[in-house]
Amino acid sequence: MKSKLFVLLLIGIMALAFVAGCGGTGDGDADGVTTHTIVGILPLTGVLSTFGENSAEVAKLAADDVNAWLEAEGKDWTLRLEIDDDATEGPVGLTKMQSWFGEGVQIFVGPQASGVAQEMLAFANANQILYISPSSTSPALAIADDWLFRFCTDDNIQGPAIGALIKEAGIEHVIFGWQGDTWGDGLQGAAEASALELGVEVNSNKLRFDPMKDAFTSEAALLDGYVTEAVASGVALDKIGFNIITFEQVVPFMVEASKYPQLSQIKWIGSDGTAFSEALLQTPEAAQFALDVKFANTMNKPEDGSANYARVKDHVQELLGRETDAYSYNTYDMVWALALCIDQVGYDSAAVKEILPEVVKEWSKDNAASGYIELNESGDRAFANYNIVMLESLDGWFVPGFFDGLTGEITWETPVY
């Protein structure tokens, strides 16, 4: 009798789970209101976790705003946003996308890292899954007619910004160090090409390291050796620069580098991976080192005056107690752009893909948090300016100038070199 009851109970639970699962991911009707689901696959853990946390909160804010707008307009659908963690690892991101696709989701926000976006690409193309990255900048992913859109420019545009910054800093001999993945390789190549073009000598020893790396004792020791060799060959210490292209690993790298006195006398240049790094601010030793070496970074420039810029900025400050990163503004615009497309053509990834460039172009003129968005033939943001981001004190970042993408010039509002 007991075992029969147990079996019946088990069947009941399974049936309940089945019914719940059917209505779980969206396109379900309740009281005549349809729910459409988009999933944010973001790096809540791993080396991009600061960016991931920012974007997750901003995506939720955007979804709330969209739903408020839908309600005010009397629309018959609501947006459901789910956030999932890709751990900044390609295989994890792909598994998450496959899993959500199995539940009927066709439209995704994220991932943030190019390596993860690349891992997902073949599966997304084969299954007509539309996904938009706020921050994948690898030139290798600038592919026409694929199913990946990017609301940021690729590194062929950021590379010249870094090259110009190297030149502006008075660097005559630059050493490159970067994380060896799709993003790092692409950006380093573009930055090196630009530096060479501007007449800067590039050290033949290059520190390409594992993106998953967490300790930089060997790298710092080797860098010290390369600087010693460059000085011995006649280059003045203050004319030597080190361009580090990585994410939050910059913190342990700088802590190690601070143990070598001459490494705090060369100039350090970063990239969008390290601009506004909260991890750096949380580690005073690394922040002090960054201040000493005038650590300058390039970062996609959102339009300060745009309608939702302040809203996003204040929201993250209030919730997480920190300055948000520039890519999170893209995330806000991505959720809105997708919602507007779904509103026009329904939850159909192919139809959304078709109208997305025009919809975002129109909407972004007055509403985008990140400024005007025009996509190129690869589905990537066509052009952008770059802010120069440096530490103002141990507590915060500031923007002393910006790189104009059209002229290739840096304009300083606060001269630092």
Partner: protein, 312 residues
């Protein structure tokens, strides 16, 4: 001392503790403990919480690390390992059960990290613990304190196993559980104590390692291959071998990579983890029973014998 050498010594001390933890548990309960990864991370998280919220030095939180590490061990023993041991589960089952436990611990660590982030505006996802250290004779204090602490732990463990009644009972259970049970030794208590010691060692090892590498909620997952490499290099049958194996693997990772990169170029840096694993494989090819299987006494005897023979 060169900074890379100092960091290598600190890291190796931590790795030695975790490798010792794996070995101890394996020889007592036949369980390859995959949860050592999260237990090590818990060690780091406990110290980080302490220094961030209450200030002070990392070392003053080590007693808490030991206690919380021991608690995670006890939970795993009563919740998973004990029921499986009593059902005479296969080694694979025992091992996989710890993997499940590890995933549960990892989820709890992630939740706790979110709690620290959202409630205290802390940043536990990427921490450089060495910045909380102080200088001693021009070096980071951890360079001296952590290897000495590791040696002290090993000495205490040695005395516990060889000089106390319970330690001797424990060794008897390790040698022959059936005979030990027949002679009145409570094997349940022996297993429990081994989980307590093992959990404490793993957590302490993790807190050591975080002084040399970046502390993250997944740091244990990233380094677990090297923890097992240390245990395997040590021979898996001898706790001292396990600790020595961990030390060798840790030092090889730091010193080996640095010297090879200096010699052959920085491209070697991309193969950092492969180098100690290669050393492990090469050692096992020559000495299949690992470091503890190297007949040191015999080698020394032969050497001295040959010398005496040569001089005669």
């Amino acid at each position: 001392m060169a900074p890379w050498m100092s960091s290598g010594l600190i890291y190796a001390s931590g790795l030695a503790m975790t490798a010792g933890s794996i070995t101890l548990l394996y020889i007592v309960t036949r369980t390859f403990n995959f949860a050592v990864a999260s237990m090590a991370t818990i060690g780091f998280i406990v110290v980080y919480t302490g220094v961030s919220l209450y200030g002070g030095l990392p070392y003053q939180y080590y007693p808490f690390v030991l206690i919380i590490g021991a608690i995670t061990g006890v939970i795993c023993y009563y919740g998973l390992n004990r029921p499986l041991l009593y059902r005479k589960a296969a080694e694979t089952t025992l091992m996989m059960s710890t993997l499940g436990y590890d995933l549960i611990l990892l989820s709890l660590i992630q939740m706790y990290s979110d709690y620290l982030t959202y409630t205290f505006k802390l940043f536990p996802r990427r921490v450089t613990m060495s910045v909380f250290d102080f200088e001693l004779y021009g070096e980071s204090a951890a360079t001296f304190i952590l290897p000495i602490t590791a040696i002290a732990c090993l000495t205490i463990l040695h005395f516990f196993l060889t000089k106390t009644k319970f330690g001797i009972a424990m060794r008897a259970t390790i040698e022959n559980p059936t005979l030990a049970g027949a002679s009145g030794i409570n094997s349940d208590r022996v297993y429990l104590v081994s989980w307590i010691i093992s959990g404490s060692m793993a957590a302490l090892g993790g807190s050591f390692m975080a002084m040399a590498m970046t502390g993250t909620p997944v740091m244990g997952m990233v380094t677990i291959p090297l923890m097992f490499a240390g245990a395997i290099l040590g021979g898996l049958g001898n706790i001292y071998g396990g600790i020595l194996g961990g030390m060798v693997i840790g030092l090889t990772e730091y010193a080996g990579v640095y010297f090879l990169a200096k010699q052959f170029g920085p491209w070697i840096l991309g193969y950092r983890m492969g180098i100690p694993l290669f050393i492990m494989a090469a050692t096992l090819l020559v000495f299949p029973r690992g470091l503890s299987g190297i007949p040191l006494g015999k080698i020394i005897k032969n050497l001295f014998g040959q010398k005496r023979g040569a001089s005669a």
